[in-house]
Symmetry: C2
Subunit: 217 residues, 2 copies
DNA sequence: ATACATCCATACCAAATGGTATGGATGAAC
DNA sequence: GTTCATCCATACCATTTGGTATGGATGTAT
């Protein structure tokens, strides 16, 4: 059985773990438990044991397990995706160079724990989308926002004549997101960073092929 | 709670459901239960109720739940992946045209049930890879075989001068697999076939960009 | 000082879980 | 006819699950 120690540092770690109130502790512990075991198999007892919080406190802050799960999505995972996948897009100069640098940077930043656990958004989505509509809509909204943010960058890039006209921004955005997610999935299963690097190289090559002025391949 | 009726037709359905022996019935029912609920939350009681088989029979054929899960991977999922993702590669004429036709065909063949449940290999891998090494190695082997099979087609294509020399076959293979898997994941969460089509269009564009003689874009 | 809401601790519960122990039915071997 | 292995049915079990009921502590408003 895999486990995640309380002091483990990993890419998907939420912010502000220090000085959390009871609700925050529960949210953080639930996030980790869900990331490792999935929602359905996430054990409330484990969460309570790790935090030292009692069951009375848990059910004071959350009406039931499902609402705790929703809160994890809304308040922890959404924040993580925004910070790691959306916010960086805003600081791109040349978008193609920006994407390539982002891929490179992400590949370097991932620890082995990150690889083994995979993207929390993806893991939860795969598990819960067919089972619970509340989870599905929440997770779908996060994905949609991500896709749109990438598309916006590409729209800007096309207006500035940086990528070829044949590229549809939204189509390209969804495809790029699929590559990133697929690469994380492949690396997770193979437990091998090379899969990540291969996908990074593949996406980089794709990006270089759609820019107007040929870049440094 | 999502459910899967016994007579439901979907892309991932295993072969030869008719006239199954007890073991086969259990395997098939377990496969469906796992596909919907994941392995950890797959209920043996559900499997028994649906098949009409008793618990004594189950534990006669399988020593425990884990080995039942392994058997599902080895005997059902591996077969499905081979049939849907690997075997078609052997009949490609021009590989680029073949891939594009495959993407188109797959997009048309998927039912809404297929979309909602996603790829069984991917779902199981995301859930169990960090938790159980037996699952992980089995699933990783299936992925590796798939990647290699795509790479083989691309190697042949490059030898025949059909794709540009800058493309590394294995890198491209892993990237293509990532796109396919990522697109299925996105379609599953959004419950929208458009995500699939976007990724299909993106991959098609990528493929057209790496062929030597410009194709019909 | 009293009333009240917030916050949490303890004890308990019905249901479901995977797993086991045991015995019966059936057919083949000798 | 006896033996033995295969195949399966029934009853039972310990453990864990999410969830609840109740009461106490603490702070705040009046």
């Amino acid at each position: 059985m895999n486990d995640l120690s309380d002091n483990d540092v990993y890419w998907w770690r939420p912010l502000e773990e220090t000085e959390l109130d009871t609700r925050g502790q529960l949210l953080f512990a639930a996030y980790k438990e869900i990331h490792v075991n999935g929602f359905q198999s996430a054990s409330l007892s484990n969460i309570l044991a790790r935090t030292g919080v009692t069951k009375g406190a848990l059910y004071h802050h959350f009406p039931n397990k499902l609402e705790l799960g929703y809160a994890v999505v809304d308040e922890v995972i959404a924040q993580r995706i925004h910070l790691n996948f959306i916010q960086p897009l805003e600081h791109f100069g040349d978008p193609i160079d920006g994407f390539i640098a982002f891929i490179q940077g992400a590949g370097d930043a991932f620890s082995m724990t990150d690889i083994e656990l995979g993207c929390p958004l993806s893991v939860l989505a795969q598990e819960m989308a067919p089972i619970d509509e509340g989870f599905r809509t929440r997770l779908a909204a996060i994905y949609e926002k991500w896709h749109q943010s990438i598309a916006d960058v590409l729209i800007q890039a096309r207006q500035n004549g940086l990528i070829i006209d044949e590229v549809d921004p939204y189509t390209m955005a969804v495809t790029m997101a699929a590559i990133l997610e697929g690469s994380l999935s492949a690396a997770k299963v193979s437990r091998n960073l090379d899969k990540l690097y291969h996908c990074g190289a593949g996406l980089t090559q794709f990006l270089n092929l759609i820019r107007t002025q040929p870049g440094n391949q």
